[in-house]
Subunit: 201 residues, 2 copies
């Protein structure tokens, strides 16, 4: 398998995490934003959906969308629950992540850390994202109250998926993580899972 991955992106990081945690091998092609590698991959037609992460399988078929790739690499491992209801609850968190969490929690990090997004980073937009982000973090905080993992008794793709942009929400996004005890314990739990790798490295 060949993974086109953006080193700084949480969406790509999710995929690197599941690869490392399940011991699956893929050749990783780093395509940072604005890099020559990214333009080359585009020119070569390696990214038919235009985005990273993109996973190219050995038979040439291509998967896009970070959470769909996560599903593909996770199916049949301990990160996908056997119970059909828990499986659907797990996917529910993953859809929530793309619809609600990513457009706020990841976007504030992008506006602050990517020079090409700086023009959008007005004080009003940053303040609005901060407020909305704290409300979203509160949803996760309450879901984790009295629980170790988002679904069932084991870590699942839902945890890896939401970990990716939540673990950097404080340092990169300026969210006030001190208010979220259950989230902080859960982040630490994800980091002790065998195979865990940091965002960059």
């Amino acid at each position: 398998m060949r993974l086109y991955s953006m080193p700084s992106s949480g969406n790509s990081y999710k995929v690197r995490l599941i690869l490392a945690m399940t011991g699956q091998a893929a050749r990783i092609v780093d395509c940072e934003y604005g890099s020559r590698a990214l333009s080359q991959a585009r020119q070569q037609g390696a990214l038919p959906y235009g985005k990273v992460p993109t996973l190219v399988l050995d038979d040439g078929r291509v998967l896009a969308e970070s959470n769909a790739i996560l599903w593909y690499l996770g199916e049949g491992t301990r990160f996908v629950p056997e119970d059909p209801v828990e499986r659907a609850q797990m996917l529910g968190w993953m859809f929530w992540e793309q619809y609600n969490h990513e457009p706020v929690i990841a976007v504030r990090q992008a506006l602050i850390s990517y020079p090409h997004r700086a023009a959008e980073a007005t004080p009003q937009r940053l303040a609005e994202l901060l407020e909305r982000g704290h409300a979203l973090l509160q949803v996760i905080e309450e879901a984790l109250s009295g629980r170790d993992w988002l679904v069932g008794d084991q870590p699942s793709l839902a945890d890896l998926c939401l970990y990716a942009y939540t673990h950097s929400a404080g340092p990169r996004g300026g969210f006030e993580m001190g208010h979220f005890d259950a989230i902080n314990s859960w982040l630490a739990r994800v980091e002790t899972l065998p195979g865990h790798v940091p965002l960059s490295g």
Copy 2:
């Protein structure tokens, strides 16, 4: 099963479609926007995630997120491909629908048709959504070029999911559907599937 469903909403419609097409029974509780039924359901704690559609299973467990409910009701039926790659490609379309398609194609329909959204329906916002929506419809148009269905040779959850807000994009959203021949043929194909039901009725 009990489905809390908003009659006018494409996200709820997806779930009614898969129920009808797979012959699964659920008691449907209509909760239109602003209705007494919706406030009652909220007050009774029937919507722990605050949203419709919400599916309450016979054992009391609750599923939210339309596409996760679609997965739950579709798993094991002909609407979920057996091939793992096709299954992931199907989920890829479903994540794309929530991240890219719904926030544009569904939102323009909502701004035009719901009185409580009218203040957001400025000419500038409607024009921007029109342009972005046509680009998204073009992605579907190209994906359907020379194909009957989005994934593999059979209708899947990806088709039902994207049908919901695409079939009303012209009449409710003002998108210029005359430009999209492959989409129009595909919409007609979905409508001939056994069990198809209209949005309202």
